[in-house]
Symmetry: C2
Subunit: 297 residues, 2 copies
């Protein structure tokens, strides 16, 4: 299909929104890209970087004539945004998002759409450690996965347009049920983030309460650095992901607590064979992950 | 000081023992390096790779005339080894090791030394994911840390020789109390390994019991891969490390369990500010680790 939008409004011109804007403009997929945000300085930078043609502060001014609205703000602000401007959308417009959680948020967005306006949820999996439009690039999504989460209510034509748009970014596009998305990402992405954040905090407690001479900077090696790399991710973004995917995240933390407790108990009673069995299972599963090249997540 | 050994016996010619042998031979620090092991095929490969001059199967034949014995077998075998051949050592000989745990093992080795034979414990921190002499290199220790753990009983001259030997490998040599070593490495290395092994096993449980369609290979991204990289480490080696550093490891797992439980509870009650505070602390501590280049551990 030929993809072309007359006017695109990007709400939240950060790393993801800004990179998408660059691609839409450079590939001629949109005649006009309008950025919406609160920080004028950031919006000016987005114009200079070619991410948007112009900007407005009031989202209603941005979305009124748009045939595509990209919601690229933190997921916790969706409700406030949709309440503020969904009623201004013109018939036939498509609203999409880029949030890392889908289930409840897709339901919320679908409920907020006026008649004749179509919502399609999407989650481009790219570049989580950097933030801001200045880190944006029209290559950001190249080879990365983008998961689109249609529902029974999704308009087929709107779905095709969003899928084509993400294919144009160079993403590997997958389609998945929104709640299954949250389970799978909860396991392979949200749980490792919990593990990394909590590990850094445990080391702080160990240093402060048990080993005053522990200098984490000079004593840490590659193992600790790799294991905790994603603990440097955005606290605001991950706070919202954990809250919006709360039930899955809590359930998976509990599975992790069981796994840790089992290993601890085997060590406590010096069960050499039991420990080795657990480590061997982990090694075998981990080695399977090495069979394909790494993509960002 | 000028370092020269007439005969070195390396007990266990794997990645670490083999790499050290290559360096001792290529830099002319030893007139003769004898490898001791059980697998003749491996010992033949070690000769071909230039890690040793020749090999013997009976360790007593290797250590009898040695002025340096390097114990480079799994730490759990130290007792058996020392019982077997310590009484054959000649006066003035030095015994050193390369084990990842030090406290109890250094005490054990010191008790096993006959009069006039000196033990100096050491822990070169290098290359834990690969194994075997074939992966060895005379560059393996370049820039890596090596922690030497002298005690009140340590002979000063023997200590200086072991320190000089590790400096010759290109290691950054640190000196530390053996029990403090186990606390610090327990925190910055052993705990992250527990976290990574247990995380892989938790994902297996989640897949098998909660998300049958979870394909860990195709769904995992960079976050999971980094967080679990060290779960591919040797089960035998890490089993022994966890057992020989048991009390520290169990205590640190408990700190980790507290940290995880705190974060879980904040998520359960949707305490957004509380979650953000925890993630923010983790991010700040993690970012400090980025201030110096990574060295292996």
């Amino acid at each position: 299909m030929t993809l072309h939008f007359t006017q695109v409004a990007i709400i939240g011109v950060g790393l993801i929104g800004g990179s998408l804007g660059m691609i839409l403009r450079r590939k001629g997929l949109a005649s006009k890209v309008i950025g919406v945000g609160r920080r004028v300085e950031n919006l000016k930078a987005a114009v200079e970087l070619g991410a948007i043609d112009r900007y407005v502060i009031d989202p209603k001014d941005g979305v009124r004539d748009a045939d595509l609205v990209v919601l690229a703000t933190p997921v916790d602000t969706y409700d406030r945004h949709l309440t503020e401007w969904a009623s201004c959308l013109k018939k036939g417009a498509i609203v999409t998002d880029v949030g890392s959680v889908k289930g409840l948020l897709v339901e919320q967005a679908e409920r907020a759409m006026p008649a004749g306006v179509h919502f399609v949820g999407a989650h481009p999996i790219a570049g989580k450690e950097k933030t801001g439009v200045a880190a944006g690039s029209d290559q950001l999504f190249m080879g990365a996965r983008c998961i689109i989460t249609p529902t029974k209510a999704t308009d087929q034509q709107a779905f095709e347009q969003i899928r084509t748009m993400w294919e144009e970014t160079g993403s590997v596009v997958l389609t998945m049920d929104a709640h299954l998305h949250d389970k799978i990402l909860g396991a392979v992405s949200h749980l490792p983030h919990v593990a990394a954040f909590a590990l850094m905090n445990a080391l702080v407690e160990i240093r402060d309460q048990q080993i005053p001479s522990l200098d984490l900077v000079s004593h840490s090696g590659g193992g600790l650095r790799d294991t905790t790399r994603i603990a440097a991710s955005s606290p605001e973004m991950w706070r919202d992901i954990f809250l919006w995917n709360r039930d899955n995240v809590v359930s998976f933390i509990e599975a992790y607590e069981r796994s840790l407790s089992q290993l601890k108990q085997l060590i406590q009673v010096s069960d050499a064979a039991g420990i080795e069995k657990k480590l061997d299972q982990a090694k075998q599963e981990r080695e399977k992950l090495s069979t394909r090249p790494t993509v960002p997540a």
